[in-house]
């Protein structure tokens, strides 16, 4: 099976969906020159009307994408987590509320592709991991692919979905490579991954480790570190945070009795905390030890290469948390 990078997978999904459906178009900053890599060649292939470089006006063009989606178009918007703050009014007041507020009249088939930088000296202004914020504000689907296969399959599902989809591309995973089948080798002729279905990336029996976004990688690395000691981790990747497949997580905890959640976002009010809280409510009687959350320290992301790595979860921190729940 061909091996592809995460970005290649996103690019393939974009091209396939643009070819399939004329109403799909892309907009964002510097797409034509593909500053972030996933839109290379689109201009040549689809022309100026379907690959739109916007002015530096996130609130304005996020809103324009939403407005266009109300009128039959299906925009794919490219941006970066930290630029979401600028366009937050459109993302919350409009994207997440419009449909409900209008009694179901609005369909908003917009996909926001949102890059999260990681550990490359981007400093506080460019290092947000703000998916938990959109979990707290109902109305959007939140997608965190952690490998090329899911990136392609979830992205294609997102473009076809009639709700606003925020697809977070984690810098931790962005250069990873995974097997992604060619369409001709797939039964339906294409790769679609459903929302709301967690992926048990690795089966195990001692501790359930849920990884959020890039946290999946750390969890897998920890599993490898612990294998020689005979400690077996079950690693679960929820893949989408809204909808969130708690069932798979709860079932796993039922078997293991132990839970560690790894989330590279800030800890307070994180996706990790949400999962921990839900298990403490609905899976309490399965638990044989305290739940451990391994998330980013509750300070801003520093620039210095001497400090930045300290803020994030690492496989070592996951290992420590696993040991804690096993004692």
């Amino acid at each position: 099976m061909p091996v592809k990078t995460y970005i290649q997978a996103i690019a393939e999904a974009t091209i396939e969906e643009m070819e399939r459906d004329e109403s799909v178009f892309t907009m964002g900053e510097d797409l034509r020159q593909s500053v972030y890599g996933a839109t290379a060649g689109l201009l040549e292939r689809f022309g100026e009307d379907r690959v739109i470089d916007t002015p530096l006006s996130e609130n304005g063009f996020f809103g324009a994408a939403l407005g266009a989606s109300l009128c039959g178009m299906r925009p794919i918007v490219e941006t970066v987590t930290s630029f979401l703050w600028v366009g937050m009014d459109q993302l919350i007041s409009q994207a997440s509320k419009m449909r409900y507020m209008f009694g179901g009249q609005a369909e908003l088939p917009v996909t926001f592709r949102i890059r999260m930088f990681y550990a490359r000296g981007a400093a506080a202004h460019h290092s947000d991991r703000n998916y938990p914020i959109f979990m707290n504000t109902p109305g959007q689907k939140i997608i965190c692919p952690t490998n090329a296969y899911d990136a392609k399959g979830l992205m294609k599902t997102a473009v076809r979905d009639n709700d606003v989809c925020l697809l977070f591309e984690d810098g931790i995973a962005i250069s990873s490579r995974t097997e992604v089948p060619d369409n001709k080798d797939l039964p339906g002729g294409e790769l679609l991954v459903p929302f709301g279905v967690a992926n048990t990336v690795r089966a195990g029996s001692d501790v359930t480790v849920v990884g959020i976004a890039g946290g999946v990688q750390h969890a897998l690395d920890a599993a490898k570190l612990l294998e020689p000691e005979g400690i077996s981790l079950e690693v679960i990747d929820p893949r989408t945070l809204v909808p969130l497949d708690m069932e798979t997580i709860l079932k796993s905890v039922e078997r293991t009795g132990r839970l560690v959640v790894v989330d590279p976002a800030h800890k307070m009010c994180s996706a990790a905390s949400e999962i921990a809280a839900t298990v403490a409510q609905d899976g309490f009687w399965s638990l044989q030890a305290p739940i451990q959350v391994v998330a980013s320290e509750q300070v801003n992301v520093p620039y210095s290469p001497a400090l930045e790595p300290l803020i994030y979860p690492t496989p070592e921190k996951v290992v420590a948390a696993v040991r804690a729940v096993l004692n």
Binding site: G67, A68, C71, D89, M101, F102, N162, P243
Partner: protein
């Protein structure tokens, strides 16, 4: 002026519809039946009606918190509008939106926004869809003088001008943002003066004269449909009532003098249009009165309809969130527990 008698009368009908609708809302509010905020459009009817008369059914509008006049001017059903304001299941939005969020997508009313200026980018996007999809409709957005200071307006106007989008930015300048006067809010004499900063025409028009608004909008619609791009229209108007029902805290004359209010109310858009109908189309007093009477009955019926409409069932709380439902979207906590 190329409006025939029927059109002029229809304009009057809609202006009356807005006026009487708002009067009914005020009455209902004072009875305690309506608890949320509601922002009367009384005094500004000529703007919405003049503008919407220049539009086709397929054209899109979006608006703001002062939200009853725009959809009614576009042809929205007053029954369903009133039911929405009372939070009833027959409302435009099944009671989920309320006064500030009337919308009827089936006739191009993309919805009013409680967040000031927040629908300006949305309307810009509708215009973008029209252009990209060669759909032929134009988009028109109503916003206030206060709203014009939001960054969303700047960004939208720049994009619309850059991309020659078929959109009309219709600024309803009623001189105030709640209690803040235009002079304390906008740094130039007219909002329309800002059009030149985007390279689009900026038209200043008498917002109490529905025909003048219609004329300006008609030219803007022509430009838009011809692919010549956006227009900013500033309609000078005045709000005859309080900013919002229920905002009793503010002393009425503290920010607008009684003389100013009295002076402004002399230019009642309904009276001005009624006179114009007589001058231009030789409508008679009787014909005008009849329109008024018919509309009064219509509004009474709407109130009746709204009052009789059932409240939504409790289970409706969880409907209308998702257009594409999938596994594991959040459900009620109590169901879960």
């Amino acid at each position: 002026m190329a409006l025939d008698k029927q059109q002029l009368e229809e304009m009057y009908r809609r202006m009356c519809r807005i006026r009487y609708f708002e009067e009914a809302v005020i009455e209902i509010h004072s009875s305690g039946e309506l608890i949320g905020p509601a922002h009367p459009y009384i005094g500004e009817e000529a703007v919405a009606v003049g503008a919407c008369t220049a539009l086709e059914d397929s054209d899109r509008i979006a608006g703001n918190h002062r939200s009853h006049g725009h959809p009614i001017a576009k042809g929205g059903d007053v029954k369903r509008a009133m039911a929405e304001i009372l939070g009833k299941s027959d409302g435009f939005c099944k009671g989920k939106g309320g006064s500030m969020h009337l919308a009827d997508f089936s006739i191009g009313i993309l919805g009013e926004s409680g967040i000031v200026a927040s629908s300006v980018p949305i309307a810009t996007g509708a215009a973008l869809a029209s252009k990209l999809g060669k759909k032929g409709f134009v988009s028109l957005v109503f916003f206030g003088d206060g709203a014009s200071n939001q960054g969303a307006c700047h960004e939208s106007m720049n994009m619309a001008a850059l991309w020659d989008l078929p959109i009309i930015f219709m600024c309803e300048n009623n001189g105030y943002a709640i209690t803040t006067s235009y002079r304390n809010s906008v740094s130039v004499e007219h909002v329309s003066d800002r059009a030149s900063a985007y390279g689009m025409p900026g038209i200043l028009v008498d917002g109490q004269d529905a025909i003048a608004v219609w004329e300006a909008t008609t030219e803007a619609v022509r430009r838009a449909r011809a692919g010549e791009g956006p227009t900013l229209i500033e309609a000078m108007t005045y709000r005859f009532e309080d900013h919002s029902l229920g905002l009793d805290r503010i002393r009425k004359s503290a920010y607008r003098s009684q003389e100013e209010v009295d002076e402004a109310m002399k230019r009642d858009p309904l009276k001005i249009h009624r006179a114009a109908m007589m001058t231009h189309a030789f409508s008679t007093e009787l014909e005008c009165d009849e329109i008024e009477n018919t509309v009064r009955a219509e509004i009474a019926e709407a109130v009746e309809f709204a009052r009789n409409s059932p409240f939504p069932e409790p289970g409706a709380l969880f409907d209308d969130m998702w257009a594409t439902p999938v596994k594991n979207t959040p459900v009620s906590q109590s169901t879960r527990r």
